[in-house]
Amino acid sequence: MPWYHTLSRKGWIAPHWPKQYGGMGATLNEQIIMTEELARVGAPHLPVQGLNHIGPILMEFATDAQKAQHLPPIIAGTVIWAQGYSEPGAGSDLASLSTRATLDGDQFVVRGQKIWTTWAHHSDWMFALVRTDPQAQPRQAGISFLLIDLHSPGIRIRPIKTIAGDDEFSEVFFDDVIVPAENLVGKLHDGWRIANALLGHERLGTSNPQFALMAIERIKTMARASGIMADPAFQDRLAAASINVTALSALFSHAVELTNNGQSPGPESSVIKIFASELLQALNELLIEAAGGHATTEKPIATDFGEVDVATPFLQARRVTIYGGSSEIQRNVLARRVLNLPN
């Protein structure tokens, strides 16, 4: 978090947020320049749930009181957010979620379990999809969007270790947790629509070319150090990958441009999510190929051209085609909602 606080103090933490909420109101080109500069200096990843996901959603759907309570701490970096969507029985089939929020006077009573919750054990608040009407048909019509203080009594968080060796995500248990009714975002049972708007932002945010640009730098360092950079076959693959990174930057600028023109990133954003995530995996495959015998080294590898982390980013890249809706789900969405192929 020191990097977050540094950017925050400089007023640079949320270039894409409007100035009235503490952002920079940066133009598209300014955002892209910042992204590329951050990638070049190898800046650490920032926790994105607040900045990219719940922030924009609150601006669009929240009450003034909710905005006043929650937006400034995101900018200041004093509150970390977690996303509570997936459940053990509701992964790709998210609408089948069953964590129950029962309205009782001016409060909800929440009971159930969330899983694959990124950074939950470091987070202060969760924005969650909860079932408020178990009888609703379609099931999507019985879901609400709720802000939950993770320090509330009745919450238990258990970190889950990943193949990349970190405990980036957790499972979160809710045992009759009391949540004030004023923490409902939007209308009761209208959470699915909000979640979908958020999915658009999420797909766009995770597709930021910054990650691919950083991967290219890693590959180049590793390939120079291992000597494979001189191999024309490797050069061809690197050129293909690098051209695809340029294509990703173009897709990203194009999508952001449309968003800036007031169009919410809809199902079209699945295109960039698939392209960016599959490219990131291809880049990491190139990285371990460049590393050769170093591929499995656990710690960053010291080379004449600087330190390179190889195995960890490669393993971490497995998650990108799974989170935020797997590539297969994205393809289903595109086939039906964008290409209008028959059911």
Partner: protein
């Protein structure tokens, strides 16, 4: 994703789409193996619409527009399998008009009364466009060219823009088809049109000076050619996609529309993603580059991507059609063949990637 276009750009695109509606696979078939393989009257019509002078400044009676407008028109000509070499003529006109005084051929090229095309390639693979083996000798006003150019779209051409190495490095020259020492030998392509090898033996030529904003006239024309072909390739794949998706919505097997099968839906989405990525790349570059000073790494990236994806997409479109897609009678094969031709011109995807390594400084 929709492009964010101005109303003028939308009008231009729509008028190109209208022009193209009168072209299409049927016309394209008629011109297979014809000489020339296009309708000169329709080239003149493109001239009347201003497209051949689209990049030429208004002071020389051109439209004075940019790369986005060029790409919008060529995307449509690609969609329509238009046979008239509108893109090659338009970029040649830009070169003929880039000096302080226009080349005498400019006016006739802009109206479509004459056709000039670039002749920049010298081998099947491994060309370095800025180091042509064709030599230029003599003083301005009495230049002589000796060498050989390959894969020239010489059908119906009255002259060529030839790259050559001279005392001052790569030099762009105009050569008339009927100039002494200029010979053409043609090869029939499977696409229907012919490609030619252009022989030059002490052939008189005119110097084409660089535009004031260009680094070099050969470099500028080559990059422009890469963008023009990439734009046209986009249109080819878009139309092939459209035809294929229509088929998926129509064809029934096992009692169901085949477009409802998830395996085919996911293939369709893969086609769509490839096209969207290539399209964003081409139009972002078009929006951010001066036609006379295109960043060479970006032009190369666009041509590499468009060439590769057009081949992948049009082949996948045939697969999704099944046996009917393999017949000459069905139109979908025409798009594959057009993609083959345009992908190969001025360097295919592999050739572009080889240049990209050096130009984008990847190994440093």
């Amino acid at each position: 994703m929709d492009l964010h276009l101005t109303s003028e750009q939308t009008l231009l695109r729509d008028s190109a789409a209208k022009f193209v509606a009168a072209a299409g696979p049927k016309i394209s078939r008629e011109f297979r193996e014809h000489d020339p393989s296009f309708a000169p009257a329709r080239l003149r019509q493109a001239g009347d619409l201003g497209w051949l002078g689209i990049l030429v400044p208004g002071s020389m009676d051109g439209l004075g527009l940019g790369l986005t407008e060029l790409a919008l028109v060529l995307e449509q000509t690609g969609r329509g399998l238009v046979c008239e070499p509108i893109g090659l003529a338009a970029i040649s006109a830009a070169a003929l008009g880039q000096g302080r005084t226009p080349h005498p051929m400019l006016e006739r090229v802009m109206t479509g009364a004459a056709l000039v095309v670039p002749a920049l390639q010298e081998s099947a693979h491994g060309d370095e466009p800025l180091e042509p083996r064709t030599q230029v000798a003599g003083q301005d006003g009495a230049l002589r060219l000796t060498g050989r150019k390959m894969f020239v779209c010489a059908d119906g051409a009255d002259g060529f823009l030839v790259s050559a190495s001279g005392r001052d490095g790569p030099t762009l020259c105009y050569v008339a088809r009927d100039a002494p020492g200029c010979t053409l030998s043609t090869t029939q392509t499977v696409e229907g049109r012919k490609l030619a090898t252009l022989g030059l033996a002490d052939t008189p030529a005119d110097l084409i000076p660089a535009h004031s904003s260009s680094r070099n006239a050969v470099d500028a024309l080559h990059n422009l050619a890469l963008m023009a072909l990439s734009s046209e390739l986009l249109g080819v794949m878009e139309k092939a996609q459209e035809i294929t998706f229509d088929y998926l919505r129509l064809r029934k097997q096992f009692g169901k529309l085949i477009g409802s099968f998830q395996a085919l839906q996911h293939q369709a989405v893969n086609i769509y993603i490839r096209i969207e990525a290539a399209r964003s790349l081409v139009f972002q570059i078009a929006a951010n580059n001066d036609p006379y000073r295109i960043d060479p790494a970006l032009a190369i990236a666009a041509k590499a991507k468009a060439s590769e994806e057009a081949l992948v997409v049009t082949q996948a479109c045939i697969q999704l059609h099944g046996a009917i897609g393999f017949t000459d009678e069905h139109d979908i094969g025409l798009y594959l063949k057009r993609a083959m031709l345009l992908s190969s011109l001025f360097g295919n995807a592999a050739a572009q990637r080889r240049r990209y390594v050096a130009i984008a400084d990847l190994t440093a």
